[in-house]
Symmetry: D2
Subunit: 349 residues, 4 copies
């Protein structure tokens, strides 16, 4: 077990890159060694990209060049889907452990990837070496993996919420997932009118209705857990805030189980999970209680009129939904205590 690791972050100037650096600068076993940009030949100082990191980390973001990988133990890829699969083979060849935050290695079947992301997969041979990086589901595999595909933010919020019921086959395959996300999920490169402050302030809107790319990702994992084909309806929406996802999940139990028993089942399954918090009766998850932290909060209710089970799940899309979960995977891959550098609570108010 190495006591220290030298880390490269590829794609440091976006929101996920910034969040990785915010976490990694507080991580006692990590030395951030290289900040590598793809898609731009310009060097930018870190505070230009992330003014909150001024004085905290003294490194420039430089154009990607393999020479900067010398001595690097692990790399985070915070680059767009499609760009990651170009980089991964080289990194693995150099013995560098990779946590890829793009979608490139999330699907086991390259045909699904092609259909969903509308491009050919260029590193299909590596797909079977990749582990879907959800510690709550694949902890033991992540520990031994050299290539971890960090899941999408919505799938993390939904799979954690469904795992205990799904793996026991207690729920019907018809599941409605209504998710709401802060705008940082759109990334920093969406220079479109629709993402201007003035357009989103005071607004709330759905997008990609009935066809979001994270749906097949959830379906891949749910199919395996349920042992049957899920009929998933997934609708994402934009909340006019920076950070946070709330997923409201409607499902029905195959056989009636009292709510308290459902809760107990979650408490048992998740009592050892450092980042899953079951919210007590009478309280409900809210985005603000997890913003800036690696926690995922869960609660349960039975609808008085339909009898449906409603599961509520909240997390920070940049932390447990992206960078925090990725560092959790790094900790596992390095053999470190899983919570290292990640126990910091979020920011309220």
């Amino acid at each position: 077990m190495p006591e220290h690791a030298r880390i490269a972050v590829v794609g440091p100037t976006g929101y996920t890159g910034g969040e990785l650096l915010r976490i990694l600068t507080g991580h006692p076993m990590v030395e951030v060694r290289a900040l590598l940009r793809t898609g731009s030949e310009e060097t930018v100082s870190l505070p230009q990209a992330h003014p909150h990191l001024r004085g905290v980390l003294h490194l420039d973001c430089v154009p990607y060049d393999e020479s900067f990988l010398d001595g690097v133990d692990a790399a985070f890829l915070a680059v767009p889907s499609g760009a990651a699969m170009e980089l991964v083979p080289t990194l693995l060849d150099r013995g560098i452990k990779v946590i890829d935050l793009s979608a490139d290695f999330r699907f086991r079947d390259p045909a699904v990837y092609s259909r969903v992301y509308r491009r050919e997969h260029k590193a299909t041979a590596l797909l079977e070496r990749a582990t879907y990086g959800l510690p709550e589901l694949y902890r033991w595999r992540i520990r031994e993996s050299y290539l971890v595909a960090n899941p999408g933010c919505y799938p993390i919020s939904v799979l954690i919420a469904l795992l205990p019921l799904a793996k026991r086959g207690l729920i019907r395959p018809e599941i409605v997932v209504d998710s709401k996300s802060g705008i940082s999920g759109a990334g920093r490169n969406r220079l479109e009118v629709g993402y201007l402050f003035t357009e989103l302030f005071g607004d709330f809107r759905p997008y990609s209705v009935g066809q979001h790319r994270h749906a097949p990702e959830m379906i891949q994992e749910l199919r395996q857990l349920l042992g049957e084909e899920p009929a998933l309806s997934f609708t994402p929406h934009l909340i006019p805030i920076s950070r946070g996802i709330l997923s409201t999940i409607y499902c029905s139990l195959k056989e009636p189980v009292p709510l308290q028993q459902v809760r107990r089942l979650y408490e048992e399954d998740y009592q050892g999970e450092p980042f899953v918090r079951i919210v007590p009766d009478g309280e409900l998850p809210r985005v603000k209680a997890v913003a800036g932290s690696n926690f995922c909060d869960l609660a349960f209710a039975i609808d008085r009129y339909s009898g449906h089970l409603i599961i509520l799940s909240s997390l920070d899309n940049l932390t447990k939904g992206a960078a925090g979960n990725a560092v959790q995977c790094l900790n596992l891959m390095m053999g470190w205590e899983e919570t290292t550098g990640l126990m910091e609570p979020g920011l309220m108010p």
Copy 2:
């Protein structure tokens, strides 16, 4: 058809009261005659309560007293549920037409009212004279009514979205309604920590999960439309904005109907409706496009994975969801052009 009406607003200092006054001051056939407070013996100037109305309407908000009702033709009740039923008998006795924005006269069955609002109904004899004030459903009855129960904001957004399919019996009774509302829906008298700016800023949270009072209101109307008992799951959430509701509705068709045909059906039904706008293909409703207006925007999608029909509906909870709809009812009750004073677009950006 009177060319003019003298109006009283009971409960003028809350958000619904303010919105009524904003609309009524621009209404060419209305003279606002009295602003009557219940529950307080203090007179407040209108700009103290509503600084945006400074210089626009010169009337004080005075403690309720019947003497102020002399000569009044119609009254809006923007008082809490429970308080309205105390006032209505007197008003009707005086020949004053009443639009009640509370829940007191929304349920046909007083037992349902008692169960949902946890108090006895004190004016059950008037229930059968009350009309559920949804013009898109009960226009002809509203025209002849002296007592209109303005529907809840969520039910308006949901019923307009479901009417064309429900009344034709095309959808299954299992319906999931995931609604999101701006905070003004909580009113101005909720002096609780949870409604402070600092608590809600940057937050998003569900509330009354599985047990909101608007569910039985929707169920009452849907039961009648569907001709069978609906299995409705309804979850409301708080969006950190002032105004606006977006409802995301998941249902399934009894027999497959192509999306374009669903859309055509809505276009036919709603082509004469002045305040229902079908958003064109490729666009989606958003809260901001209706905020400050009396419009309700609708769109449709089929989920690629589950095949479910998803209906999206947006309106301003204070306007089409409350005060605007109430003025629309007034227009009908007075025999005026239904859109009088209501065609003003919302405010963007």
Copy 3:
């Protein structure tokens, strides 16, 4: 006095264009005849640009072509500075009255314009025909003008606040103006990372410190009013909201005048002004009380420690700060009642 005017809006797709159309569609004497785009050859439907105007105005935004000017009585130019002066000569030649919302005709001295806007003025011959469109100062001239230069949003908020004292020579020339504006002031075409929702949410920041283009505009008018050279310090800031400006103005009186007398002086000067509201003692202007309206709210205080006079001024940068003031000018130019179409209160909450 024409009972009706046919209007063209050049630059209809931006925020000022949208606000003009929102107001003009409710204006009883105006027919919007043409929506003309410069800088793009693409026709867009109005709801594509302004979804809140769906169903309210049925006109496309088409590429600018002189043929659309036939029969037009007046035109609003909501185009960038630099573009307006290319269009104005043609419009005036056709006898069309022009209200230009750009900066092109605000400066009497073309050398100042060149220095501030870093381009040559191409229509200097028209400068003396242009009237600085502040009704509170130049009402009589606007009435007779064919070319009105609508002032900048900050100058309107500041000049209305200083007029009564400045024209009487009661204040010293050292004036500090600290202004704060909603983001819509930046317009819709600023597709820069800094204007993304996620960047501005939760932020507050100054910009153009010590060198904003609106400073020389204020100085031009203050110099004339004061009869001496003002020493103006002006700092604008961005508030993370859509609409509204608050200016906090620090000045000192040449000779001590009690606060109540200052207030009386303003009340006298502004009692006939339909859109200037003096906020009563004990209250203060706030952005939200004027948002969506053509009002400008004012209040006064003496600093207990320095003895300085502090004047507070709030308005909506898109309404009284731009489109509303422009329509007020149109009303004057057409000989109509000055408040026509403009008395609608703003939106609260």
Copy 4:
């Protein structure tokens, strides 16, 4: 130098209390021993008050009782002004070091305290033992102090911005300070309509114009630094965000000094200051770059028209403006490295 300290937080349920706990739970040398409420006899669990701290700190907030002080080394008082001076004598008698975040011990002259806070000072004998807790000014005294009065949030932002010029006597005493603060500065106990989300959303407003309690606090320190009586105009405003203060300070130099020399002077004075960051030329402080951190960012400009010097200063009112500065004082009082537990960057976006 103790390697460890046991800490009590009195007043743990408010925003400052929550921020103290957020920081202290990540502080390697601190054990939080007691959470003591004054003004309430009710025990509340920590997550009830601060849901973001669920699972991070397992302590209840109990009614204040001296018995909980056994073994405590230092106490933070996050109670209202007026309440602190009741508690301090007992704490000091027990040998407990006190960092008081209220205003009770900020003024050297009890007459000033009485005038500003409208109550008698009940512990005047302790005033000379109290140190004004601004490490950038009184570091050596704080180290030896048993009673530190943590400064007000606005004074911290202003004094750090003025120190280098003021202590050298380079500026004139006429200073205009225009400050803007997030709403958390109002605390959690202001259950007034004006602090509801719906009232402040989309708003921006001044308050306490010309008479805020933090003005005399700044004046006390500036008088000493300048060696003459300052003529300070201070206006605070509310930004509709949770956290952050931006102060825009207008002053003039007694003799002309080039901007670059002003900057150099600050860089020299502050090069050893761990939490003061001079923002490079071409950039400006913004609230979001410091939110959640203990940094204070500064920049400078000369107004092109008036020649005035403008200093911009940003910090998080709850961190460097309150709890973070208080922990910085604790570190000094305990002889620890001053930055312990405080180097964490803020949260962006």
